[in-house]
Amino acid sequence: MEGLQNRPCGGRYGDIVEAIGNTPLVELKRLSPKPGVRIYAKLESYNPTGSVKDRVARGLIEDAESRGAIGPGQTILEPTSGNTGISLAMICQRKGYPLKVVMPDNVTAERTQLLTMYGAEIVYSPGAQGSNGAVALALEMAEADASYYMPYQYGNSANPDAHYNGTALEILDELDEVTAFVAGLGTGGTLMGNGRRFKEHDPETTIVAAEPLQGELVQGLRSLDDGFIPPIIDLSLIDRKIFVSNRDAVVWTKKLLEQEGLFLGVSTGAIAAIATRIAGELDEGNVVFVSPDDGWKYLSSGVYTKPIDQLEAEGVLDSASFW
């Protein structure tokens, strides 16, 4: 259309839930270590509540509706470290389902505020047990009270399917070839759904998991039996699995801001660190990574405003939960 300078425009939608997805894919020219290798970030912060989890939450709820597993007024219960809860809260409010989220008590204040704004009820689990603690508590609550419906993003194929049928197709619509795909390993949904689609498109695509190296204070397990592997994860789909310390994640979060003008969440810093490393191992090709969210929800942690040494001295890197 004459006058429209950018393709595509944002689209027209019947309501905010329909507006989920179709996020921009942005090249990071300054971070690319070689001229023949392009690095692209899929900016999921452009979703309505600001994270990739809008896709997952919509998938989880629409899956339950289509199976007749939930009806009007049904209370939804879900463990989350924040973003899934916020996305579910918006969607449940729009659709009239009361929502209860179980979340570690050491997440930033912004996450609590957003959940409260959208009308969710919050149940806190011990922060030292990280997401494992939230999962365990939510499973206990669901077992004790059959009136809850728990979508359970860690074990529900609607989670990876939201990427298989959404994120990955959007990326392939823009790029003919994905040499390597990098995503954070949380529930495994982003890696599994995109990984499966990219491997079908080209079996040579390298699927890379960037994993958080939790600060020691967040590794408060009583024993290894408290360990947890999300049931949706199929390790055979993953070619590389690399951990990133909180320190490196913050360093790269600042680098994205300073060199590319991108104000993104701390997990994106970790994923960008690995994407750049993989790019350095290639001679040519496209490296694509998913940026789960932007920086607004983490401002109060000080990571964008304080120098890295100060954050380390204050113990922020060891005790905070950024994923």
Partner: protein, 91 residues
């Protein structure tokens, strides 16, 4: 000797040590050497079938050995192994 970093959950089994030096040509040998020096770690690291316990992740220079060659992954003397419990990620 390779350097093995011990997570908080396993430190009661290594007398509180955070890092332990252990010898071996591959990941399995290094972990067996660790278990020989600190027998309380053996049942936690290995299952009855001798495979790596399901909830133990071992990283060679920050890459998960499960997607490399598992316990057969070759180790050089200057390498660092990190043992971590499997933790749920989030959001």
């Amino acid at each position: 000797m390779s350097n093995v970093k011990i997570p908080p959950v396993l430190r009661p089994s290594t007398g509180g040590e955070r890092e332990v030096a252990a010898d071996g040509e591959n990941v399995g040998e290094v972990l067996r050497a660790l278990a020989a020096a600190h027998p309380a770690t053996e049942n936690q690291l290995f299952g009855e079938d001798g495979a790596l316990n399901r909830y133990v992740n071992v990283y060679l220079n920050d890459e998960d050995v499960r997607v490399l060659n598992g316990l057969d992954t070759a180790v050089k003397a200057e390498d660092t192994l990190v043992i971590l419990p499997a933790m749920a990620g989030g959001a």
